[in-house]
Protein backbone atom coordinates (compact mmCIF):
# COMPACT_ATOMS: atom_id res chain seq x y z
CA UNK A 1 0.00 0.00 0.00
CA UNK A 2 1.46 3.22 -1.07
CA UNK A 3 1.74 6.30 1.03
CA UNK A 4 -0.90 8.00 -1.01
CA UNK A 5 -3.38 5.24 -0.31
CA UNK A 6 -2.60 5.36 3.34
CA UNK A 7 -3.16 9.10 3.51
CA UNK A 8 -6.38 8.71 1.63
CA UNK A 9 -7.69 5.99 3.88
CA UNK A 10 -6.85 7.87 7.06
CA UNK A 11 -8.41 11.05 5.79
CA UNK A 12 -11.52 9.37 4.52
CA UNK A 13 -11.88 7.61 7.85
CA UNK A 14 -11.71 10.98 9.61
CA UNK A 15 -14.16 12.45 7.16
CA UNK A 16 -16.71 9.70 7.56
CA UNK A 17 -16.47 9.53 11.31
CA UNK A 18 -16.75 13.27 11.66
CA UNK A 19 -19.73 13.29 9.35
CA UNK A 20 -21.48 10.62 11.39
CA UNK A 21 -20.69 12.45 14.57
CA UNK A 22 -22.00 15.63 13.05
CA UNK A 23 -25.41 14.26 12.35
CA UNK A 24 -25.72 12.56 15.70
CA UNK A 25 -24.71 15.42 18.02
CA UNK A 26 -27.56 17.00 19.91
CA UNK A 27 -25.77 20.27 20.30
CA UNK A 28 -25.57 22.18 17.03
CA UNK A 29 -22.24 23.80 18.00
CA UNK A 30 -20.68 20.41 18.25
CA UNK A 31 -22.20 19.44 14.90
CA UNK A 32 -20.65 22.50 13.39
CA UNK A 33 -17.22 21.69 14.76
CA UNK A 34 -17.38 18.17 13.36
CA UNK A 35 -18.43 19.53 10.05
CA UNK A 36 -15.36 21.77 10.04
CA UNK A 37 -13.20 18.75 10.68
CA UNK A 38 -14.89 17.00 7.81
CA UNK A 39 -14.26 19.95 5.49
CA UNK A 40 -10.62 20.17 6.46
CA UNK A 41 -10.05 16.51 5.79
CA UNK A 42 -11.78 16.87 2.44
CA UNK A 43 -9.48 19.74 1.54
CA UNK A 44 -6.49 17.51 2.09
CA UNK A 45 -8.10 14.84 -0.06
CA UNK A 46 -8.38 17.47 -2.78
CA UNK A 47 -4.63 17.89 -2.51
CA UNK A 48 -4.17 14.21 -3.18
CA UNK A 49 -6.11 14.82 -6.36
CA UNK A 50 -3.72 17.59 -7.35
CA UNK A 51 -6.45 20.23 -7.03
CA UNK A 52 -4.54 22.85 -5.09
CA UNK A 53 -6.80 25.73 -5.90
CA UNK A 54 -9.94 23.95 -4.87
CA UNK A 55 -8.31 22.72 -1.69
CA UNK A 56 -7.42 26.23 -0.64
CA UNK A 57 -10.83 27.58 -1.55
CA UNK A 58 -12.37 24.76 0.42
CA UNK A 59 -10.54 25.89 3.53
CA UNK A 60 -11.22 29.55 2.92
CA UNK A 61 -14.84 29.45 1.91
CA UNK A 62 -16.28 26.41 3.60
CA UNK A 63 -14.23 25.77 6.66
CA UNK A 64 -13.67 29.50 7.09
CA UNK A 65 -16.49 31.73 5.97
CA UNK A 66 -19.51 29.47 5.80
CA UNK A 67 -18.88 27.67 9.02
CA UNK A 68 -18.24 30.94 10.82
CA UNK A 69 -21.61 32.01 9.62
CA UNK A 70 -23.19 28.84 10.95
CA UNK A 71 -21.57 29.10 14.33
CA UNK A 72 -22.44 32.75 14.48
CA UNK A 73 -26.10 32.07 13.82
CA UNK A 74 -26.18 29.22 16.30
CA UNK A 75 -24.72 31.47 18.95
CA UNK A 76 -27.04 34.30 18.00
CA UNK A 77 -30.13 32.21 18.35
CA UNK A 78 -28.85 30.60 21.53
CA UNK A 79 -30.42 27.28 20.72
CA UNK A 80 -31.15 24.58 23.23
CA UNK A 81 -29.91 21.08 22.76
CA UNK A 82 -32.09 18.93 20.70
CA UNK A 83 -33.55 15.93 22.47
CA UNK A 84 -31.42 12.87 22.36
CA UNK A 85 -31.69 11.08 19.11
CA UNK A 86 -32.41 7.73 20.67
CA UNK A 87 -35.38 9.14 22.57
CA UNK A 88 -37.06 9.84 19.33
CA UNK A 89 -36.05 6.81 17.37
CA UNK A 90 -39.47 6.64 15.90
CA UNK A 91 -40.76 4.83 12.87
CA UNK A 92 -40.02 7.72 10.59
CA UNK A 93 -36.32 7.61 11.33
CA UNK A 94 -36.12 3.90 10.91
CA UNK A 95 -37.85 4.14 7.59
CA UNK A 96 -35.53 6.95 6.57
CA UNK A 97 -32.49 4.93 7.50
CA UNK A 98 -33.78 1.96 5.62
CA UNK A 99 -34.37 3.89 2.46
CA UNK A 100 -31.09 5.72 2.69
CA UNK A 101 -29.30 2.44 2.99
CA UNK A 102 -31.21 1.08 0.07
CA UNK A 103 -30.23 4.03 -2.05
CA UNK A 104 -26.66 3.71 -0.91
CA UNK A 105 -26.60 0.06 -1.73
CA UNK A 106 -28.15 0.58 -5.12
CA UNK A 107 -25.74 3.32 -6.12
CA UNK A 108 -22.77 1.48 -4.69
CA UNK A 109 -23.69 -1.56 -6.70
CA UNK A 110 -24.01 0.48 -9.83
CA UNK A 111 -20.75 2.27 -9.17
CA UNK A 112 -18.92 -0.93 -8.50
CA UNK A 113 -20.01 -2.26 -11.84
CA UNK A 114 -19.37 0.82 -13.91
CA UNK A 115 -16.09 2.35 -12.73
CA UNK A 116 -14.22 -0.37 -10.93
CA UNK A 117 -12.20 -1.30 -14.01
CA UNK A 118 -11.61 2.20 -15.29
CA UNK A 119 -9.89 5.42 -14.17
CA UNK A 120 -7.12 3.66 -12.38
CA UNK A 121 -4.64 6.47 -12.74
CA UNK A 122 -4.84 10.20 -12.65
CA UNK A 123 -4.49 11.95 -15.96
CA UNK A 124 -1.10 13.20 -17.13
CA UNK A 125 -2.07 16.83 -16.99
CA UNK A 126 -3.88 16.69 -13.69
CA UNK A 127 -1.14 18.66 -11.95
CA UNK A 128 -1.36 21.32 -14.61
CA UNK A 129 -5.15 21.59 -14.31
CA UNK A 130 -5.26 22.10 -10.59
CA UNK A 131 -2.92 25.11 -10.61
CA UNK A 132 -4.23 28.50 -9.61
CA UNK A 133 -2.66 30.01 -12.68
CA UNK A 134 -4.48 27.71 -15.06
CA UNK A 135 -7.81 28.00 -13.35
CA UNK A 136 -7.52 31.77 -13.12
CA UNK A 137 -6.79 32.04 -16.80
CA UNK A 138 -9.75 29.86 -17.69
CA UNK A 139 -12.05 31.74 -15.36
CA UNK A 140 -11.29 35.06 -16.94
CA UNK A 141 -11.41 33.85 -20.52
CA UNK A 142 -13.67 30.91 -21.24
CA UNK A 143 -15.82 31.21 -18.18
CA UNK A 144 -16.01 34.96 -17.90
CA UNK A 145 -19.75 35.12 -18.34
CA UNK A 146 -20.75 32.66 -15.63
CA UNK A 147 -18.05 34.16 -13.45
CA UNK A 148 -19.61 37.59 -13.77
CA UNK A 149 -23.02 36.16 -13.15
CA UNK A 150 -21.84 34.74 -9.86
CA UNK A 151 -21.30 38.29 -8.74
CA UNK A 152 -24.94 38.94 -9.48
CA UNK A 153 -25.96 35.89 -7.49
CA UNK A 154 -23.91 37.04 -4.56
CA UNK A 155 -25.39 40.53 -4.70
CA UNK A 156 -28.88 39.08 -4.73
CA UNK A 157 -28.00 36.80 -1.86
CA UNK A 158 -26.64 39.70 0.15
CA UNK A 159 -29.63 41.91 -0.49
CA UNK A 160 -32.01 39.02 0.08
CA UNK A 161 -30.49 37.98 3.37
CA UNK A 162 -30.42 41.54 4.63
CA UNK A 163 -34.07 42.04 3.75
CA UNK A 164 -35.04 38.74 5.33
CA UNK A 165 -33.03 39.11 8.46
CA UNK A 166 -33.63 42.72 9.30
CA UNK A 167 -36.28 43.60 11.83
CA UNK A 168 -39.33 45.31 10.50
CA UNK A 169 -39.25 49.04 11.13
CA UNK A 170 -42.09 49.99 13.31
Amino acid sequence: MSLQALVFLVLSFIAIVSAILMITRANPVKSAIFLIINFLSLSIIYLTLNAQFIAIIQVLVYAGAIMVLFVFVIMLLNLQDEKKLSDKLDLRKVVALLFVLLVFGRIALGLGKSVSERFLKQAENSVEIGKVEFIGEKLFTNYILPFEITSLILIVAIVGSIVLAKRKFE
Binding site: A15, P28, L42, F53, L111, A157, S161, L164
Partner: protein, 100 residues
Protein backbone atom coordinates in the same frame (compact mmCIF):
# COMPACT_ATOMS: atom_id res chain seq x y z
CA UNK B 1 -1.96 4.93 -7.26
CA UNK B 2 -5.48 4.67 -6.00
CA UNK B 3 -8.30 4.27 -8.47
CA UNK B 4 -11.08 6.81 -8.86
CA UNK B 5 -13.65 4.43 -7.43
CA UNK B 6 -12.23 4.99 -3.95
CA UNK B 7 -12.99 8.67 -4.18
CA UNK B 8 -16.38 7.96 -5.54
CA UNK B 9 -17.22 5.61 -2.72
CA UNK B 10 -16.08 8.16 -0.19
CA UNK B 11 -18.22 10.72 -1.94
CA UNK B 12 -21.20 8.39 -1.93
CA UNK B 13 -20.77 7.58 1.74
CA UNK B 14 -20.61 11.22 2.73
CA UNK B 15 -23.58 12.00 0.57
CA UNK B 16 -25.62 9.23 2.16
CA UNK B 17 -24.73 10.46 5.62
CA UNK B 18 -25.83 13.91 4.57
CA UNK B 19 -29.15 12.62 3.31
CA UNK B 20 -29.68 10.69 6.48
CA UNK B 21 -28.95 13.80 8.47
CA UNK B 22 -31.48 15.78 6.50
CA UNK B 23 -34.07 13.15 7.13
CA UNK B 24 -33.61 12.55 10.81
CA UNK B 25 -32.61 15.89 12.29
CA UNK B 26 -35.12 18.48 13.42
CA UNK B 27 -32.91 21.45 13.88
CA UNK B 28 -33.09 23.52 10.75
CA UNK B 29 -29.52 24.69 11.10
CA UNK B 30 -28.18 21.18 11.37
CA UNK B 31 -30.20 20.24 8.35
CA UNK B 32 -28.50 23.06 6.56
CA UNK B 33 -25.14 21.73 7.57
CA UNK B 34 -26.10 18.33 6.25
CA UNK B 35 -26.94 19.93 2.95
CA UNK B 36 -23.52 21.52 2.91
CA UNK B 37 -22.08 18.11 3.52
CA UNK B 38 -23.95 16.73 0.53
CA UNK B 39 -22.69 19.54 -1.65
CA UNK B 40 -19.17 18.81 -0.56
CA UNK B 41 -19.48 15.17 -1.34
CA UNK B 42 -20.60 16.06 -4.82
CA UNK B 43 -17.66 18.45 -5.12
CA UNK B 44 -15.37 15.64 -4.24
CA UNK B 45 -16.76 13.48 -6.99
CA UNK B 46 -16.40 16.33 -9.45
CA UNK B 47 -12.82 17.06 -8.57
CA UNK B 48 -12.07 13.38 -8.72
CA UNK B 49 -13.43 13.04 -12.19
CA UNK B 50 -11.70 16.22 -13.24
CA UNK B 51 -8.29 15.01 -12.35
CA UNK B 52 -8.78 11.47 -13.59
CA UNK B 53 -10.15 12.56 -16.91
CA UNK B 54 -7.79 15.45 -17.24
CA UNK B 55 -10.35 18.11 -17.88
CA UNK B 56 -10.68 21.37 -15.97
CA UNK B 57 -14.47 21.47 -16.25
CA UNK B 58 -15.10 19.62 -13.01
CA UNK B 59 -13.03 22.04 -11.00
CA UNK B 60 -14.73 24.99 -12.62
CA UNK B 61 -18.05 23.57 -11.64
CA UNK B 62 -16.87 23.08 -8.09
CA UNK B 63 -15.89 26.72 -7.98
CA UNK B 64 -19.37 27.76 -9.01
CA UNK B 65 -20.98 25.29 -6.66
CA UNK B 66 -19.13 26.93 -3.84
CA UNK B 67 -20.36 30.36 -4.86
CA UNK B 68 -23.91 29.14 -4.97
CA UNK B 69 -23.48 27.32 -1.68
CA UNK B 70 -22.25 30.50 -0.08
CA UNK B 71 -25.21 32.44 -1.40
CA UNK B 72 -27.59 29.71 -0.35
CA UNK B 73 -26.24 29.60 3.17
CA UNK B 74 -26.55 33.35 3.50
CA UNK B 75 -30.15 33.39 2.38
CA UNK B 76 -31.04 30.18 4.17
CA UNK B 77 -29.69 31.34 7.46
CA UNK B 78 -31.49 34.64 7.02
CA UNK B 79 -34.70 32.69 6.57
CA UNK B 80 -33.94 30.66 9.67
CA UNK B 81 -33.42 33.85 11.63
CA UNK B 82 -36.64 35.30 10.29
CA UNK B 83 -38.57 32.18 11.20
CA UNK B 84 -36.95 31.98 14.59
CA UNK B 85 -37.95 35.53 15.25
CA UNK B 86 -41.55 34.75 14.53
CA UNK B 87 -41.86 31.31 16.04
CA UNK B 88 -39.03 31.12 18.57
CA UNK B 89 -38.04 27.75 17.25
CA UNK B 90 -36.01 26.20 14.49
CA UNK B 91 -37.58 22.81 14.89
CA UNK B 92 -38.94 22.03 11.50
CA UNK B 93 -41.65 19.75 12.84
CA UNK B 94 -43.26 22.82 14.21
CA UNK B 95 -42.82 24.81 11.05
CA UNK B 96 -45.30 22.94 8.94
CA UNK B 97 -46.53 25.84 6.88
CA UNK B 98 -46.88 23.60 3.87
CA UNK B 99 -49.63 21.61 5.52
CA UNK B 100 -52.65 21.55 3.20
Amino acid sequence: MIPLSWYLFLSLTLFTIGVLGVLIRRNAIVIFMCIELMLNSVNLALVGFSSYIGNELGQMLVFFVMVVAAAEVAVGLAIVIAIFRNRLTVNIDEINLLKW
